[in-house]
C-alpha cells in the first residue's frame, strides 16, 4: 500500500523506454514538482503538504453548504489556477471566510493627503447578483465574462494605475502637460496588464481617455457630449434599464408628486427633461387609481429640439395621451423645445394659477451651475421663476457627487471614486445591450466632468448638502419624503435589482447607493411663501 509520501513526488522519473514528456528535458526549477508541472500546475514540493491541507479545509467548508458553491463560483474572482497554492487560498478566502465588504475603497492617507487604494480593491464581490431577467444559464455563457482573473501582477497594476491617474491629474492641474502626456502613454501600456472587462481596468480606461482628450484636444471638448439628442435618449434609456438609479429617481419623485396632488382636481407636471417620458406612465396609472378619481393632468415636457424636423416631444406626448386615455385620465400635453434649460421662460409653460404644479427635475439643475458664483447665474434665474410658479412640490434628483469643485485634481479624484462605484454596481447587470450602452452613457458623463471646461462642462454635480443650502437660500423649504417612499424604494430594489444596492434616508431625503456609497439623491421642495421680503435683506 502506497503511503502519502512526499519523497516520491520529485521530478519526473524515467524508466526504460518511458520518459515523462516535457518535464524531463529541463531541470526542474527550484523545487517545483515536475510531475505536477507536466499536468499544468506549479507547486513547490516544499509547499505540497500545505496545499493538501488547505484542499482538505476547502472540502470541509464545501461539505457544509454545497449548493452555494457553484453559484459563488460563477461570480467570484479567482486567482491563477496554475499556481495551486494561490488558487486554493483564493477559494478559501472566497468560501470559507467572510469576504471583504467593499470592492472599491479609497482611503485618504492623512499624513500626506494622498489618495491610496485600499488593498480590498481587487477582492471579490461579497453578494451574488440574482439573475432576475429570464436568462438561462446557457445564455449566460455568452454574456460578458463574469469571471475575472486577477493575478498578483494585475493587482499591482491596478493600484499603480490609480496612482498614475492621480499624478496625471495633478500634472494637468499644474499645467505640466508634457509630463501628463507621457503618463498617458505609460498608463495605456499598463492597461494591457489589467483586465479591462470590469473593475479598475474598465473605469481606468475611461478616465485615461478623458484625460487624454483634455490634454491633446483642449477643453472645448465639444465632441464628448456632442452626441445627438437622439443618441443621448437611447443611451439614457439603456442606463434606465441596466441599473436602478433612474427607476429609483422616477419612483421616488412620483410618490412625492402623488401625495402633493392629493385633493387637487387640476394638476400640472413640468418635466425638465422629458427624454422618452419614462417617468410618467406610472404616475398616470397611479392617478387613475386615486380614490375619488383622477384629476385633469397636464404635462409639460421640456427637451432639446429635434434636428430633423421630427417633433419627438410631441410623439412622446401622443403616446402618453394614449395611455392616459386607456385608463380614463383626462390628459393634456405640451412640449417645450429648448437646447438649454436656462432658455426656457416661465410663460412657455402656461401655468394656470388654479392648478397644483409639480416641477420635476431629474439630474437637470446641476447643468445650470457655472464655475463662477455670480448673481443671476442661470441657476438663480431658473430657481427664481420656479418659485414664481408657486409649485406645490419640486422634486429634485441629483447625482450625489462633488464634481463641481474649482480644483481639477479634487474633481478628478471625486469622479474616479464615484464612477468606480457606479461601474462596480453595473457589474450586477446581466442584460445586453443595456449594460454596454449604459456604460457608454456613464462614459460620456465622465468625459464631460474630466475633459470639458466652461460652458461645455455641464455635468456639474453637487452633493445633496450643497443643494440643500442652495435651495434654502433661494426660498425653498424641504418637504419630507415619507417613510412610505422609503419602504417603496426598498421594495423597488428587491424587485428590480441585484443585491448590493441600498436606500438611505437622510433628513427627509432618500438616496440610492452601491453598498455604503450613495450615488443618487432625491429630495422634494416647496416654495417658502413671502420669501421676497427676506431676499431684499440679503
Amino acid at each position: 500500500m502506497l503511503r502519502y509520501d512526499s519523497t516520491s513526488s520529485s521530478a519526473g522519473s524515467s524508466s526504460g523506454s518511458l520518459s515523462s514528456s516535457s518535464s524531463s528535458s529541463k531541470p526542474p526549477q527550484q523545487d517545483i514538482d515536475g510531475l505536477l508541472a507536466g499536468a499544468g500546475y506549479k507547486v513547490r514540493s516544499s509547499e505540497l503538504r500545505q496545499v493538501a491541507q488547505r484542499l482538505e479545509r476547502l472540502e470541509t467548508a464545501m461539505g457544509n453548504s454545497p449548493a452555494d458553491f457553484s453559484q459563488l463560483a460563477s461570480d467570484a474572482i479567482l486567482y491563477n489556477p496554475s499556481d495551486l497554492a494561490c488558487w486554493v487560498d483564493s477559494l478559501l478566502t472566497e468560501f470559507a471566510e467572510p469576504p471583504p465588504t467593499c470592492s472599491s475603497d479609497f482611503i485618504v492617507d492623512p499624513v500626506n493627503n494622498q489618495t491610496v487604494v485600499n488593498s480590498a480593491w481587487t477582492a471579490a464581490e461579497p453578494h451574488t447578483p440574482q439573475v432576475h431577467q429570464n436568462i438561462t444559464y446557457d445564455e449566460q455563457q455568452s454574456l460578458d465574462n463574469q469571471l475575472t482573473v486577477v493575478t498578483a501582477m494585475e493587482e499591482d497594476s491596478g493600484i499603480r494605475l490609480v496612482h498614475m491617474l492621480m499624478t496625471c491629474a495633478e500634472c494637468v492641474q499644474s499645467g505640466d502637460l508634457s509630463l501628463a502626456a507621457s503618463l498617458i502613454d505609460d498608463m495605456q501600456g499598463l492597461l494591457t496588464h489589467v483586465n479591462t472587462v470590469c473593475g479598475i481596468g474598465k473605469v481606468a480606461g475611461h478616465f485615461i481617455d478623458a484625460l487624454s482628450r483634455r490634454i491633446f484636444q483642449g477643453m472645448g471638448g465639444g465632441s464628448v457630449n456632442g452626441g445627438s439628442a437622439f443618441e443621448n435618449e437611447i443611451l439614457y434609456h439603456h442606463f434606465y434599464e441596466a441599473c436602478p438609479y433612474l427607476k429609483f429617481a422616477h419612483f421616488t419623485a412620483n410618490q412625492a408628486i402623488l401625495e402633493a396632488f392629493d385633493g387637487h382636481d387640476c394638476v400640472h407636471v413640468v418635466d425638465f427633461n422629458l427624454m422618452h417620458g419614462l417617468q410618467w406612465p406610472a404616475l398616470i396609472q397611479a392617478l387613475a387609481l386615486r380614490p375619488g378619481g383622477p384629476p385633469l393632468l397636464r404635462l409639460t415636457g421640456i427637451g432639446p429640439p429635434s434636428p430633423d424636423g421630427r417633433d419627438s416631444l410631441r410623439e412622446i406626448g401622443l403616446r402618453l395621451a394614449e395611455l392616459a386615455r386607456s385608463v380614463n385620465v383626462r390628459f393634456a400635453f405640451r412640449g417645450v423645445a429648448a437646447s438649454r434649460l436656462e432658455d426656457v421662460k416661465p410663460w412657455m409653460l402656461q401655468v394656470n394659477p388654479k392648478e397644483a404644479v409639480a416641477v420635476n427635475s431629474i439630474m437637470q439643475l446641476h447643468r445650470l451651475l457655472g464655475s463662477e458664483q455670480t448673481r443671476n447665474s442661470p441657476i438663480d434665474t431658473v430657481l427664481s421663476w420656479i418659485r414664481g410658479l408657486n409649485p406645490k412640490i419640486m422634486t429634485v434628483v441629483e447625482q450625489e457627487a462633488n464634481h463641481n469643485q474649482p480644483g481639477f485634481l479634487d474633481r478628478f479624484t471625486e469622479a474616479l471614486y464615484y464612477y468606480s462605484t457606479m461601474f462596480d454596481s453595473l457589474e450586477a447587470c446581466r442584460v445586453q445591450p443595456e449594460k454596454a450602452l449604459a456604460e457608454i452613457y456613464i462614459q460620456r458623463e465622465i468625459g464631460n466632468v474630466v475633459s470639458c471646461e466652461g460652458s461645455a462642462r455641464v455635468e456639474r454635480h453637487e452633493p445633496l448638502a450643497k443643494w440643500r443650502r442652495r435651495l434654502s437660500g433661494a426660498g425653498f423649504r424641504a418637504l419630507h419624503l415619507g417613510s412610505n417612499a422609503f419602504k417603496q424604494a426598498s421594495m423597488l430594489l428587491t424587485l428590480f435589482s441585484a443585491e448590493g444596492y441600498s436606500v438611505e434616508e437622510n433628513e427627509g431625503c432618500l438616496s440610492l447607493g452601491w453598498h455604503s456609497s450613495p450615488l443618487i439623491a432625491a429630495s422634494a421642495w416647496q416654495a417658502v411663501p413671502a420669501w421676497d421680503n427676506h431676499m431684499s435683506s440679503s
Binding site: 502519502y4 522519473s13 510531475l35 505536477l36 505540497l48 472540502e59 458553491f69 453559484q71 463574469q146
Partner: protein, 331 residues
C-alpha cells in the same frame, strides 16, 4: 492516504474544481471549466521523441490531435508528412484515444491527457490520435459516440496512417473513464459496420446502472468520487428522462444486448480496486465474456482513479507494460 502526495493534490484539485463547475440544477459552468482546464498546445517539434499537431476534420469540425514518434532523421523534425504511410514494412499501431472527464470535462489538449498520449506513443511506438469529442451537458448521447465514430472513420481513411505490407491503418481504441465507455460503443458500431479495430483498451471505463452495487455503497465518497457526482454526469449525458439502465450506461444491463457473434475487438479492461464503480466494470467484463468475446482484466487492487496521470506509482508501470504487450504482441 494511498496515493503519493502530489497525485493526491492533483486529483483533489480536480475534484474541487469539478464541484465548482457542476450546478445542482444539472447545468454546467462551461466558462469556468474552460478557464480552469490546464491546456497545452501541440508541438510539431519533437519533445522526448514525440511530436504533435492538431487536425480539424472539415466535415465534422472535430479537432483531433495527432501524436507521432519523431523521425530518426533529425532533418525531418518540424515537418509532417501527410502522404507517405507510416511504414511499408512494419505495422505501426494507431491508437484512437478518447480522453476522460465523465463526458463533461477535459479536452484532447488538456495537459494531463497530452502528457498521457505522449507516453503512449513512446511506450508503444504507436501513433496516437486524441479525439476532442463534444461534451455534455451541451451535447448529450449519442454525440460523443457519433464523434468517436467519425474520428475512427477519418483515421481509417488516412493514407499517411497506413502501415505494414497490407497498407492498412491498424487501429486500436482506447480511453479512460468516459473515454473507455466511448471506445466500447464506437467498437460496437465499427464491428457492425465491418470496420476492423484490432483492440480496445478501457481504463477504468465509465459504466453504471440503476441499482446501487456493493462497491458503490462501500466506496462512495472515499476516494475522490461520489455517487452523487456519478449520477450528475449520467443525468447530464443520457437523454433527458432516461435512467442509468440506458444501454449507453449499462451495455449489458436489462436493456443491453449481447455482442455474441459480432466481430468485436479483443479488450483490455483495467479496473482500479478503489474505484466505486468497479462492480459495473467487472460486470462489463463478464458481459464481454458471455458474448464470447476476448477480454483481459487487469485488476489493480490498491489503485484509485487517475493513477495513470503521474508516473509515480507501481500501478502506472504495471499498466504501461500491459498496454505495451496488448498493442505490440510481437515486441
Amino acid at each position: 492516504r494511498v496515493v503519493p502526495l502530489n497525485t493526491w493534490v492533483l486529483i483533489s484539485n480536480f475534484k474541487l474544481a469539478y464541484n465548482l463547475q457542476r450546478r445542482p440544477d444539472g447545468t454546467f459552468n462551461r466558462d469556468l471549466s474552460e478557464f480552469l482546464d490546464r491546456r497545452v498546445p501541440a508541438n510539431i517539434n519533437p519533445v522526448d521523441g514525440v511530436f504533435s499537431f492538431d487536425h480539424v476534420d472539415g466535415a465534422t469540425g472535430l479537432l483531433n490531435r495527432v501524436y507521432q514518434p519523431s523521425s530518426l532523421n533529425e532533418a525531418q523534425w518540424g515537418m509532417v508528412d501527410l502522404e507517405k504511410p507510416l511504414s511499408t514494412t512494419e505495422i505501426v499501431p494507431v491508437i484512437v484515444f478518447f480522453h476522460g472527464g465523465s463526458f463533461t470535462h477535459s479536452s484532447a489538449n488538456s495537459a494531463i491527457y497530452d502528457t498521457f498520449c505522449r507516453r503512449l506513443v513512446s511506450l508503444c511506438k504507436a501513433v496516437v490520435v486524441s479525439v476532442n469529442y463534444r461534451r455534455s451537458p451541451e451535447h448529450r448521447y449519442p454525440c460523443a459516440y457519433d464523434d468517436g465514430w467519425a474520428a475512427l472513420k477519418w483515421v481509417k481513411s488516412r493514407t499517411w496512417l497506413q502501415s505494414g505490407k497490407d497498407s492498412n491503418v491498424h487501429v486500436y481504441l482506447a480511453g479512460d473513464s468516459s473515454g473507455g465507455n466511448i471506445a466500447h460503443h464506437v467498437a460496437v458500431r465499427a464491428a457492425e459496420a465491418d470496420v476492423e479495430v484490432l483492440g480496445n483498451i478501457l481504463l477504468h471505463p465509465m459504466f453504471g446502472g440503476q441499482k446501487r452495487t456493493e462497491s458503490e455503497k462501500r466506496l462512495d465518497g472515499k476516494y475522490f468520487v461520489t455517487l452523487h457526482d456519478r449520477d450528475w454526469y449520467w443525468r447530464a449525458y443520457l437523454p433527458e428522462g432516461e435512467d442509468r439502465d440506458h444501454p449507453a450506461c449499462n451495455p449489458f444491463g436489462p436493456r443491453g444486448r449481447s455482442l455474441e457473434g459480432l466481430k468485436f475487438p479483443k479488450s483490455l479492461v483495467v479496473v482500479a480496486g478503489l474505484d466505486l464503480i468497479q462492480d459495473w466494470q467487472l460486470a462489463y467484463v463478464e458481459g464481454l465474456k458471455k458474448s464470447g468475446q476476448e477480454v483481459k482484466l487487469l485488476f489493480l487492487e490498491k489503485a484509485t482513479i487517475g493513477f495513470y496521470f503521474l508516473p509515480n506509482n507501481n500501478h502506472f508501470y504495471c499498466l504501461m507494460e500491459e498496454i505495451k504487450n496488448f498493442v505490440n504482441p510481437n515486441c
